[in-house]
């Protein structure tokens, strides 16, 4: 495959050797410089902090059972009693939104984290032993995983494992591996021949030490950028799985599954689709804005572009 989009990171990603402490400071510095200068990214960061607070404290403050069904109060539009209305089972939509925030955000973050961890490990190993049979085999496997476009790989895994919270996270983790592993592999390949890596090999450092002390540290920039972007993809994919009935099983509230309920009464209760849809959309949008800002902060190519 020769697609430029899939190679991801530019060649110039190899930074001069830095100690871990210096690097952390410069990461934080670059992040804040970028966020401060970018109003959308700043607003997005504030929104994300708020939505996480809502997920943690919302269900405590608004103490209504999100699973409680009531035939008497089905499909009620928003009112004082039910601020976001009720669904076709008479359940309170606001309560479902608040509890759903916990599930949807947790699944999205955990799934992305799984993909980042396993993708990084695979990328490190294939990059470090690049060109060997192990690298070739692993990369062919990644090619094969790429043959399942978009959400399809996650659908296949979730369909086989059956709907459960843990299985969705497994599906999302596997779904995230190909992209992350290719990006990390690319960075590691360019770092591998750098003098500081050769030097540490010369003084007798083993593969594990070189990977942990030198390679991961220098790949942190691209990993953070794509980890952020994969949170967005993960939340979106999790919602898609939920919409198809492959997510956290009912009657648990989850934003994607709530949209599926809303689809069933699409004309009778149009308001039902507004809340979960907008919540997914705004959260993914905010994560993407932050991810874009981070990419501008870390990608040396976009730096060049800004100067020219």
């Amino acid at each position: 495959m020769t697609e430029p989009t899939r190679t991801g990171v530019s060649e110039g990603a190899a930074a001069p050797p830095e100690t871990v402490r210096d690097l952390r400071m410069s990461l934080r510095y670059r992040f804040w410089r970028e966020i401060r200068g970018n109003r959308m990214a700043l607003a997005s960061t504030i929104y994300l902090v708020l939505i996480v607070l809502v997920a943690i404290f919302g269900p405590l403050a608004y103490d209504v059972d999100p699973r409680l069904q009531s035939l008497a109060s089905r499909l009620q539009p928003p009112s004082w009693e039910h601020p976001f209305g009720t669904d076709q089972f008479g359940r309170d939509v606001l309560a479902r939104m608040l509890h759903g925030a916990r599930i949807s955000l947790f699944v999205g973050f955990a799934g992305a984290l799984g993909g980042v961890v396993f993708g990084t490990i695979l990328g490190l190993a294939t990059g470090f032993w690049g060109g060997t049979w192990f690298d070739h085999l692993a990369m062919r496997l990644v090619d094969v995983m790429y043959a399942f476009p978009g959400i399809l790989l996650a659908i296949l895994i979730a369909a086989i494992l059956g709907p459960s919270l843990f299985n969705v996270i497994v599906a999302l983790s596997i779904w995230g591996i190909p992209t992350l592993s290719r990006i990390v592999r690319g960075v590691v390949l360019s770092l591998r021949e750098q003098e500081f890596v050769v030097a540490s090999r010369a003084v007798g450092a083993g593969p594990a030490r070189i990977m942990a002390r030198h390679l991961v540290v220098n790949a942190v920039g691209p990993i953070i950028v794509y980890a952020t972007l994969s949170v967005a993809g993960s939340i979106l994919t999790a919602a898609g799985l939920g919409f198809l009935g492959l997510g956290v099983p009912p009657p648990n509230p989850e934003w994607g599954a709530m949209l599926s309920d809303a689809r069933a009464v699409v004309f009778r209760a149009p308001y039902l689709s507004y809340f979960p849809g907008a919540a997914i959309f705004l959260t993914v949008l905010a994560v993407n804005f932050v991810g874009d800002a981070l990419r501008d902060a870390f990608d040396p190519r976009s730096e060049v572009r800004r100067m020219s």
Partner: protein
């Protein structure tokens, strides 16, 4: 050129074989066998042990794994994808009936995505840093971030409740007929808008790369008008990498179709897959996933070949 084509073709074979094997292994090595998924343990009385054994035998699950794998491979080569547990009809027939509908929808979506995304990306790049650029790129990010099933529901509500210019859902035959096209427009717009966001962002960055090239500076410095530089020198070269993206975009159109077909009740292969998942009908899931994956690999092959033709600098080695 011939060598490039042959090499690229040969590369497809192991990928397709790998995809087939991955689907097979995923379904057969997962915890619990496909029949126990089809008939859950708490199923009402009539699921006797004999009935379950009979079902296992019917789909060949009683045979050793390697035998099942070989006969599955042999079946795939002859486009025999087994029989649906639910409907007892051949999966390949059902897929052949539905595939053209999904392809039509996918192509229409792709056309919408290109018509929206490429001009927006080019304009953004030319006016980089301007208000137009900022607004356009924010809108593009909206397109990337919006869940397509929500967008679909909103569009349905728009035409169903407020502005009845198109049918809100359903299927009206081939999109080459006026009636068919009317039904296809909403799902195609839904899928196309997500694709347009990504395409616009990619077009912009590809265009910016080209605008920084020496030959663009040369063209400018010899006094050519902006118009000529942008459209004759820059855009033609910027569009080359975008062609490769079309194969990838077609893949996202296909996977978008899985969900969007469900929203709009479009009887394509995506809807077939989702119904198969809901019925836990594993031959259907297996067959539909395979056909989508192979279709995607072939679409990428096609774009790579086209890429080789339009950009003579690209040679595979």
């Amino acid at each position: 050129m011939t060598a490039y084509l042959v090499k690229r073709l040969l590369m497809v074979v192991p990928t397709v074989w790998g995809a087939v094997t991955l689907v097979f292994l995923a379904i057969h090595l997962a915890p619990g066998d496909p029949i126990s998924l089809y008939i859950p343990a708490d199923f009402p009385v009539n699921a006797s042990e004999e009935r379950i054994q009979e079902l296992r035998a019917r789909v060949g699950l009683d045979r050793p794994l390697y035998e099942q794998y070989l006969s599955f491979l042999a079946g795939v080569v002859q486009f025999d994808l087994g029989t649906s547990l639910q409907h007892r009809t051949p999966v390949s027939e059902a897929i052949l009936e539905r595939l053209p509908r999904t392809l039509e929808l996918g192509l229409l979506s792709l056309a919408i995505a290109v018509a929206l995304g490429v001009p927006i990306g080019v304009l953004s790049a030319i006016r980089r840093g301007s208000l137009l650029d900022n607004v356009a790129m924010s809108v593009a990010l909206f397109g990337v971030s919006i869940p397509n099933f929500w967008l679909g529901i909103l569009l349905m509500q728009l035409v169903g409740l407020y502005w009845p210019i198109l049918p809100p859902s359903g299927f009206g035959g081939s999109i080459l007929t006026l009636d068919g096209l009317r039904f296809a427009l909403l799902p195609a717009i839904t899928i196309g808008i997500s694709g347009a966001g990504g395409l616009a962002r990619y077009t912009r960055s590809s265009m910016l790369d080209v605008l920084n090239e020496d030959y663009v500076r040369t063209a400018r410095s010899k006094g050519l008008s902006d118009r000529v530089v942008v459209y004759k020198h820059a855009m033609r070269n910027a569009l080359i990498p975008i062609v490769t993206l079309l194969g990838l975009s077609f893949g996202s159109m296909l996977s978008g179709a899985v969900i969007v077909e469900t929203v709009f009740g479009w009887p394509g292969i995506g809807r077939y897959l989702v119904t198969g998942i809901q019925n836990r009908d594993f031959p259907v899931v297996q067959g539909a996933v395979l056909v989508i994956a192979v279709g995607f690999v072939l679409a990428n092959l096609l774009t790579d070949v086209v890429y080789g033709f339009i950009d003579p600098r690209i040679r595979y080695d």
